[in-house]
Subunit: 708 residues, 2 copies
């Protein structure tokens, strides 16, 4: 295995190679082996270039080596374009030559079910110190070294957006679209089957890459979620990352899995984790490009006070709706708005936000309103809405848009336009958009874009706290887990789970076990009435079906009757069951029923969940997720995210609930799932949360163990 | 007041006038009074044209009359373009001349707060048999009579989409956009302040208008919701209606209200009603145009079996996600798909849906796959996704798209394309879209469009049932309401509301009233333990705060103690209260707590709501709405819409609940709200619903009365 440091170093050489070999460089202009060489040449790459082809000769004026043996110098990157059956031999050859990185453009591996060959090649390469990009990729573009080692035709505009794509075909079109929209690129990496190098490795390079101001990633599935989370968190601290992850829907996830052979994972969990890591998740490619273009081309706003300036009331109302949808706060200090805008708008206009300059507004009227907003210290952003009228014809658009964009940028403010109209307006909109100007033909696009910028800003401004953690006797927990595992059980029995709650100091209902009727009566007296009685037996899984549960026993007489009934029922239901006795527990006082769960996810590692508990879990699916570790603030945010949060605040005049105790319980089960590797799942449902100061009680706890 | 029939007749003359007068026709080319006349002329209108201006002379070769007196013939439509202070006098003049319709382009009325003048004008006109369109409009375009009586510049392409818009500025740009996108129009009506003619009047004409195949409406607020519902239902039975209603958000609704002076109403309710009436509600103008263009240009599909054919796996996965979002069903008979596609796709492609022809697919490969889908009887629709590659360059797009669109249309099937790529692809996409071809640059747009088409189809295929109604002694209910109203109460007391439940035969918990301790004991014995006891007193509103409620009384001893405690507490809490006694009621067995409500909405008239009840009402807001009347099927759909519907089906192995009794209760309170005009609100919360056959119980009922 390679050491972490040397791996990092090799990734740098992938982006900044001193030499590139093309295995399968072709004389045939229709072949990929030709296209890659041509692009390397025309891209202006200054390092050594070694086309390799047994036929020898010259391609585009560069001498072709018949084999690697003919290459004298070191090779940092080898691009492999030969058919899949020949790849393993070529990789062995590359390893002998100590090549640092191989880019396997060749297809025909795990994406068509041939996982074995791919694994063999990658394992061999890694064992010999070489890293693999691919297979099944279109190559890499890196502005740092003017390297276009892809078979993408056409010029790639240089700029500040790095793109990483798991899909080749879609990736190629993203490059094409970037070019159409004049979005300059600093890097493009096709990761394909990700047999070795994945998004996380690339982010490790890109987050420090100065030319890269923003990263766009298209993902279908993640293999190592913990590594991805770490890389993503590190990157979003210094630059925005937009993610398009397809496979949102269940069926889409299936399609993605069949397509890339990677597990798509639960989309809800991915979505929560992306947000937690400060990434901006776009739904469609259009949305992603709008965001990338706007964020790379504009200053980060200093605040979020947004004002809509429109000459059409209807369009203003639509923009207002969009602001609510995308959490864009409209500035609403009525007095200040009046002072700013009343002097500059017609008397029958509106100085409220949206500011309506009316359909009679001329170019000069618009300009006055934009100016007023620009001068106000309280306004950070303007959404300029233009409805084509006879008074401001489309010919004036260029001046209105471009002068204002210029002036707002100079002042570090944001302005974005939404243009409605006929042929000329539409022509200008398309042309301006392609020149990178912040114009859209739909208010929803404009506001979604602002919303993304604000979201990133909020994240970047909100520095993470210390990890929320807690000490407890993890050794004692491990011991319980070991004993259960030794008994070949993959779950804990109720009393074992309760013991763990005691170790974690999470209150559970008082419970006593009794093996005789007399003991049951004494226990009930000591627990305090009313009590619940449940049969204890390893042989009875569904206690309720077996008649093994009695609730709300109010006195000794009822305890006696219940004990006898339970014994009778259970013997009748499961004749051979070994009955160890009964548990007597306090009847839990009602409160807000919450579910909390911690889980070692196969992809993302330790994760935690909180939501509305009891029978509503499955029906309402009102839960929120996070990957661990978390800080206290993030746990609070997570709790606030659930729709039923008002129940914790107290509805209908009820007292506020003990949210601190809930947060504590989350921290505790998070600590257990992180430390105790034998445990895969902890679920408390319900955790009954009482009024402030009255704590919470874990009524039912299920703990599953690792089978490995 | 005008009679209904003559009103209808007049609206026809608005669209098909035999003569048009322009009040304020102007010699000044910059004036609206000139633009309207010029457009009428250049539009090819064949009826009589009477420009009116005291200055006389000639405009564009047409003699100008100095006043209406100089006009010999009848006038069906008068377009008024003079300043607002002069409008009333002009309207009086028009009435004297028996003009049928006046279009008040003039602004300066209710939209700037001048409601009084507007009301005065409209009342006068209506009293004298003239209808008013506007004020504050840009006019009307009607293809039936080649009439362009608007100040919209440029040619309006003739076609089959009718547009109604409440916003002038936005409406003008919609016309512009329609022209850019080559969407032919059959009518355009600007309704402005809607002082008289509104969307409903226009739908009454348009639903029978043969040239109109589809209607697009932009609304901010509705005044007469019941009339709108009737007109909409009638129209959607025969042609699709797309609605853009802004004011979705609370703030947006405020902005809309300030802008048009009309009540925007609750957006959730509007949304539910639009769906109930079969209208397609679009969020943005882009979405609306995509839908209109696709639906007017293509056959209605015979089924919804949809297949995605793609050369890029990633794009296919995104399309799959979009299908889930927009309820577009992907055809998934694996065996059939295999038979259809395996012979025509490469061996490493996928015959599953999405069908992946792979990045190596040529134009011929695409064609083979499209052909296979076209030939299959089981496939109704194809989503063709194209990612630009070296193998299928953008130059081939035209052939691929246009041949297939043609062939699919001929067979009555649907095909829609999503094109991804660089400059040439983008150019072709823009150009093809403008020619009305079904191409998009985003899979979400394509699938949203299909989803809208399917949704309309489903609605149109699903014929309404008979109204769900029920007989009961409405007279007795009215009597209770009258008595309460006579006592100057705007709400019913608990026993009055219970009496109404009895009349409606909706079970309530058994309750008996007692004025003495002895009677309380007898009542409790007869109701059956456990019981609840509540104080009866008009002077004690918050019984619980006054200590006037005791629950779960298990025996006579507890009844005695509770009675004494309640008397003591209430006297201490409200010393001067007249205590009439206590009510003794059965403690209700737990079940699924549902809320049902019926309400006479100020805009939409009688409406009904069902949802998750109890304390979750406010937190979960899990409710669905409908306007009345409803058929049985629609009520069932409404119940199924709530997220907590699984609770009624029975979760965790519980028995199914008595949904029929719930539906019956909805029908009953619907009947009451429709018949008993004195009642404005009925709310049952909770209605506890038990297992099938066990019915439901209305535990708490609140009934509010009209104050009018």
């Amino acid at each position: 295995m390679l050491k972490e440091k040397s791996r990092d170093e090799r990734i740098r050489f992938l982006f900044e190679p001193r030499s590139v070999a093309i295995i399968g460089a072709s004389h045939d202009r229709g072949k990929i082996g030709f296209a890659v060489l041509r692009n390397i040449l025309s891209g202006g790459y200054c390092g050594a270039i070694y086309p390799i082809n047994p036929a020898g000769g010259e391609i585009e004026g560069i001498p072709v080596r018949r084999s690697l043996q003919e290459v004298e110098g070191e090779i940092d990157v080898a691009v492999v374009t030969i058919p899949s059956p020949l790849v393993f031999a070529a990789v062995k050859d590359l390893c002998r030559h100590n090549v640092k990185n191989a880019i396997l453009i060749s297809a025909g591996f795990s994406e068509i079910g041939n996982l074995e060959e791919e694994r063999k090649i990658t394992d061999y390469a890694n064992e010999h110190g070489m890293r693999i990009l691919g297979p099944n990729v279109f190559g890499i573009y890196s502005s740092s070294s003017n390297l276009n080692a892809t078979f993408v035709s056409g010029n790639i505009p240089r700029g500040h957006l790095a793109m990483i794509t798991q899909s080749g075909a879609l990736g190629l079109t993203l490059v094409g679209q970037a070019s159409v929209e004049h979005i300059g690129l600093s890097a493009i990496v096709s990761v394909g089957n990700k047999s070795d190098i994945d998004e996380s490795d690339l982010l490790d390079y890109l987050y420090r890459h100065e030319e890269t101001h923003m990263v766009l990633i298209y993902i279908e599935g993640i293999r190592n979620g913990e590594k991805f989370i770490a890389a993503l968190k590190k990157t979003t601290r210094v630059k925005p990352v937009v993610i398009i992850k397809s496979g949102r829907s269940q069926r889409g996830a299936m399609a993605a899995a069949s397509h890339t052979g990677s597990l798509a994972g639960s989309d809800d969990l991915f979505d929560a984790i992306a947000r937690q890591c400060g990434a901006l998740r776009a739904e469609s490619t259009r949305e992603a490009f709008n965001w990338c273009k706007f964020i790379t081309n504009n200053p980060l706003p200093r605040g979020e006070n947004t004002v809509i300036i429109t000459n059409g009331g209807g369009a203003g109302v639509m923009a207002t709706d969009a602001c609510e949808k995308y959490s864009v706060p409209l500035y609403d200090d009525a007095e200040d708005l009046k002072q700013i805008f009343t002097p500059v708008i017609p008397s029958f206009g509106s100085a409220k936000n949206p500011v309506d300059v009316t359909g009679n507004a001329s170019l000069a009227d618009y300009t006055k309103a934009f100016d007023a907003a620009l001068q106000s210290e309280n306004i950070n952003t303007v959404v300029g809405i233009f409805c084509e009228t006879a008074i401001v014809p489309a010919d004036h658009l260029k001046e209105m848009v471009e002068t204002n964009v210029q002036r707002y940028r100079e002042k570090g403010k944001l302005i974005i336009f939404s243009l409605f109209g006929g042929e000329k307006t539409s022509q200008y909109e398309i042309e301006a958009r392609r020149r990178g100007l912040p114009v859209t033909d739909d208010v929803y696009d404009a506001i979604s874009t602002l919303g993304a910028g604000y979201r990133y800003n909020r994240y970047a401004a909100d520095l993470p706290d210390e990890e929320a953690d807690v000490a407890m006797d993890f050794g004692a927990i491990d011991e319980i887990v070991r004993n259960a595992a030794a008994a070949k059980r993959y779950f804990l029995l109720a009393h074992e789970a309760q013991k763990i709650m005691e170790i974690a100091d999470i209150p559970i209902p008082v419970t006593m076990n009794a093996t005789t009727l007399e003991a049951a009566i004494t226990s009930a007296d000591s627990v305090g009435y009313p009590v619940a009685m449940k049969v204890i037996s390893k042989d009875i899984i569904h206690k309720s079906d077996a008649g093994g549960i009695a609730l709300g026993l109010d006195n000794r007489k009822e305890v006696v009757a219940a004990y006898e009934a339970i014994m009778r029922n259970c013997r009748a239901h499961v004749p051979h069951a070994v009955i160890e006795g009964v548990s007597i527990s306090e009847m839990v006082r009602p409160g807000v029923e919450i579910i909390i769960g911690a889980r070692r996810d196969v992809i993302f590692g330790p994760t935690v969940m909180v939501g509305l508990g009891g029978i509503y879990v499955e029906v309402m699916k009102d839960v929120s997720f996070r990957a661990l570790p978390l800080d206290q603030k993030e746990i609070q945010t997570m709790v606030k995210e659930i729709r039923s949060y008002p129940l914790l605040l107290g509805v209908r005049g009820e007292a506020m609930k003990d949210i601190n105790k809930l947060v504590e319980a989350i921290i505790k089960i998070s600590a257990i799932i992180r430390r105790c590797k034998g445990i895969t799942d902890i679920e408390i449902n319900p955790l009954v949360v009482y009024e402030v100061g009255m704590g919470a009680k874990a009524v039912d706890v299920r703990i599953l163990l690792s089978k490995g």
